[in-house]
């Protein structure tokens, strides 16, 4: 019995990104192993929060004895971008049954969101869209869980964490570059990058959210300035 085509497409598109979720999970596992937090509690973060940068921040702040509103609030600020992805996918998810609309967001990651947005430009059937997203998102999450577990087990014995850590920006570059298919998207990206660096003195995560919102605003201005509106967007 073969898998449905949307599932196979989702798995195929997500595989290289899922492979990169593995070293990211490793890095998180190493952070947990080096903290005073129980490995089981740390691993629970990979199930409950399911967002690498926020999990690392959360564990580090808990380990440092930060007040709980600071630890939780920082994690949520870092994850605020997920609400933007939620907005980007909402028009497509509106066609899903209620049970899928409420359950599938649990699997929403940067990688899954970007893959789905790109795929939905030409895949219009709601069932196919749901199958594609579910397959891709689930594969990424499984690799993330696997990496977290291995990272906790290996701990500080992990070789050359600096090189492995570069897998994360490299993965995001692999997602970003193909998405720059019009002048407004280019303006949005360049503006967001500039604001992220300029706003670096702000608390962790705040600069990213501020930069993303600034980039969207700049891109929106560019939408109204010229004829370069060739991209199709998910409906």
């Amino acid at each position: 019995m073969s898998l449905p085509e949307p599932v196979r497409s989702g798995l195929r598109a997500a595989l290289p990104l899922a492979v990169t979720a593995l070293p990211f999970g490793l890095v998180y596992g190493v952070v947990v192993a080096g903290s005073s937090i129980s490995p089981w509690v740390g691993l629970a973060g990979s199930w409950l929060v399911l967002a690498g940068a926020a999990q690392i921040s959360l564990v580090e702040l808990i380990d440092a004895g930060a007040a709980w509103p600071v630890a939780i609030g920082t994690a949520l600020v870092i994850n605020a971008r997920l609400a933007l992805y939620s907005a980007a996918l909402a028009p497509a998810f509106a066609a899903f049954d209620r049970r899928w609309r409420w359950s599938l967001p649990y699997l929403l990651t940067d990688q899954a969101a970007v893959l789905a947005v790109a795929e939905y430009r030409h895949r219009r059937d709601p069932v196919e869209r749901r199958l594609y997203y579910t397959a891709a998102a689930l594969l990424i999450v499984v690799f993330w869980w696997g990496g977290s577990i291995v990272g906790v087990l290996l701990g500080a014995s992990l070789p050359n964490a600096d090189v492995i850590g570069f897998a994360v920006p490299a993965m995001f570059l692999a997602l970003l570059i193909p998405a720059l298919d019009s002048r407004p998207t280019l303006v949005a990206a360049v503006s967001a990058a500039a604001v992220a660096v300029a706003a670096s003195p702000l608390p962790s995560g705040v600069n990213i959210t501020l930069a993303a919102l600034s980039g969207i605003a700049a891109g929106r201005l560019a939408l109204g300035l010229g004829p370069s509106q060739s991209r199709e967007v998910p409906a």
Binding site: P16, L17, I37, A44, G45, L48, L58, I62, W68, A71, I72, A75, L76, N79, A80, R81, L82, A83, Y85, S86, A87, A88, A90, P91, R101, Y106, L108, D110, V117, N160, V163, F166, A167, V168, P169, A170, M171, F172, L173, A174, L175, L176, I177, A179, L180, P184, T185, A188, A192, A193, A196, N207, I208, T209, I216, G219, R220, R231, V233, P234
Partner: protein
């Protein structure tokens, strides 16, 4: 508050962020063309912000990390030329490994 409870609360909050617009999507109606075009800007803006933060910002402000910067340029060029996530990440990682572990940059 125990670490587990903090992680649970962060998990619940994160789920609500993921759910936010999707949960309301059935009531939002069909977006206008301009709204759809704006939604298409979200991914490039968020990704660029994350990349810039990782390449240029450390715990104590701006950081100089030549191996990551050069690796970023190489990965970007490879992504633009080949449009393959696997090739992009492979090229970037090999570049950073050579610069970092071999050349000590």
């Amino acid at each position: 508050m125990s670490p587990l409870l903090q992680i649970i609360l962060a998990g619940v909050g994160t789920y609500l962020l993921r759910l936010s617009f999707i949960g309301l999507s059935a009531r939002l109606g069909t977006p206008s063309a301009r709204t759809e075009a704006t939604l298409g800007l979200i991914a490039p803006a968020v990704l660029a912000a994350i990349i810039a933060d990782q390449l240029f910002v450390g715990d104590d402000g701006l950081v100089v990390q030549w191996s990551w910067w050069i690796g970023g340029v190489v990965a970007g060029l490879v992504a633009w030329r080949w449009r393959s996530a696997g090739i992009t990440m492979g090229a970037g990682l090999v570049c950073v490994w050579v610069l970092d572990a071999v050349l000590g940059l």
